[in-house]
Symmetry: C2
Subunit: 335 residues, 2 copies
């Protein structure tokens, strides 16, 4: 429980000044070879490591990245975080994590905390649609002060960085694959309405119906929330219809798993009796049987870009704010 060593202790034992110790520590400045050797061996002897907090204070740079997200338990977020952390590590940065857990007050509170802790930048992943006034004000206040990167999220009127998947391209690719195989009775379980990603996909689906690519059946579009339970329930509803769909799209993989569960329950074989596709390519979709065909984010590049924007000190003064990455069709067993 003894006090930590400091550069003063090392300097004293080596009979030099702290400045010289610091020079050895950062081996940038010129130090005589034998002085360096003497100091280095004392450093090694005690395995001395400089206090990063003091360093951060002096340099006004913590090499800390804060990450605000709804729930790390959700594989979509944990995959992004894993990739971000991997890349941050390579660059000497450490990640701090903040789970808002669906409480919209937490967003503002965490944002505040991270700024007070002088993080270099913040990765922000929204999930709920609720935006408090306070959050909005804080983002406005900080948007020019430190890099805030929203991944697959954006907010009206806020000029933060935005790193996103091209969900339009991704979803169109999915509809295309379905159309290409000649299916016309296609249902969409849309989850929670009113948030941007849902509305985008719903309108693309409706456009396909309007264009006559899919048959028009109002009962084939069901909304609710983003959960396995909802997927099961809505799927049961579809299965009780006089004309069953040939393909059911879960607007995300979580819902697709619910759809799959309902099929198992009704002893339907997938993909023989009915086909299922999802969206997001969370690891869950590859783990169930049959594995789910889906559209995948480029998790690695999304995360790397976000970290890059935080690390690169010149990013804030550049004009570019939005970075879009293509999505990928991942063919598995369910379609």
């Amino acid at each position: 429980m003894r006090r930590n060593l400091t550069v003063y202790d090392i300097a004293a034992e080596a009979g030099v000044s702290v400045a010289t110790v610091s020079r050895v520590l950062n081996n940038n400045d010129k130090v005589a070879e034998n002085t360096r050797y003497k100091i280095q061996s004392i450093i090694d002897k005690y395995d001395f490591k400089p206090n990063e907090v003091a360093r951060s204070l002096f340099k006004n740079e913590t090499k800390l990245i804060g990450c605000i997200l709804p729930d790390i338990t959700n594989p979509y977020y944990s995959t992004v975080l894993l990739e971000a952390e991997k890349y941050a590590l390579m660059n000497g940065y450490t990640m701090m994590i903040c789970n808002t857990r669906g409480d919209s007050d937490n967003y503002a509170m965490y944002l505040q905390t991270l700024v007070e802790r002088q993080v270099t930048g913040i990765i922000y992943m929204g999930g709920e649609s609720v935006e408090t006034m306070q959050l909005h004000q804080l983002l406005k206040k900080y948007e020019d002060r430190l890099p805030i990167v929203m991944i697959n999220w954006s907010m009206q009127d806020i000029n933060c960085f935005c790193v996103q998947s091209d969900e339009e391209q991704g979803f169109l690719m999915l509809l295309d694959q379905i159309a290409k195989e000649g299916y016309r009775d296609v249902a969409l379980l849309a989850g929670k309405r009113g948030v941007m990603p849902t509305e985008l996909k719903v309108s693309l689906y409706q456009e396909a119906v309007r264009k006559g690519i899919f048959n028009e059946r109002e009962e084939y579009l069901i909304d609710g929330e983003f959960s396995v339970e909802y997927g099961m329930k809505a799927m049961k509803q579809l299965l009780s219809l006089p004309v069953r769909p040939e393909v059911v799209i879960g607007i995300n993989d979580i819902i697709a798993v619910g759809i799959l569960n309902a099929c198992h329950m009704h002893k339907l074989s997938v993909p023989e009796d009915i086909k299922i596709v999802g969206f997001d390519n969370i690891n869950l979709s590859s783990v169930v049987y049959p594995s789910i065909t889906t559209i995948g984010h480029d998790y690695e590049n999304l995360a790397r870009k976000a970290v890059d924007l935080i690390i690169d000190k010149t990013a804030l003064v550049k004009r570019e704010r939005i970075f879009t990455f293509p999505m990928e069709y991942i063919c598995r067993e369910s379609f």
Copy 2:
């Protein structure tokens, strides 16, 4: 992009000294009501927040908790982390996360980094059996200097805190439930041998066989690794046996999902044709169909205890090092 405000700026504008500003900030010391008001209104005006790094340096206390774990994408770890973070937040602590991603060198490196960053304490969750010499040395070096809490993990010869589930009680409870229902042909897919949790469960299973509670069939104990793929493969092997087991135990839920997949593939109904149980109660086990009966950790209390040990400055000088929490039988559809 302008410089952050400091207590000096506030003091200057209020015409007082920084000491008084600091007193208002921490409202402990006595400050005249009208001085306080004047200062507070300037603080409010700029929404001034003190620099936490400077605070940490002075107080020699960062209120940071580091968490080292194999892979946040694994729901077991993310659930613990979620609970820990929730409780840390309530106490003004922030979590840092370090994914070792199966690279045993990373454990030592992250441990080092966290200590340099002066975290208040470290939560450590191992996963691989590989322990480097270096890691062992570092743990020995730091075990008395700051609280290091291992959750469901321990290391020979290391005197860190150990917060654990009573896996013996949990697994016995599982075997009991199976025996109580009168099943005697019970298989165990054991995953990776050689690590403590596996060996414990295998020996409890073997003891049940020796006692004649379960029938002795060597082919019913298969080892491999902790993955869905292994679970499927091993289950297929079981299904090709002349006498199929009535119940198959996955040593964890991941493997149990693989077992379930193999059943779906073979068009077997669960639990009608064959029963499945898992272990850990990760969220995955409740999401598949049929949902998997399992033994659950007390995630909340494990995490809270770990955080408590870090927060409580007196814990290190106390003698108690091991804290055990009972596990829970969670009855679902697969058994």
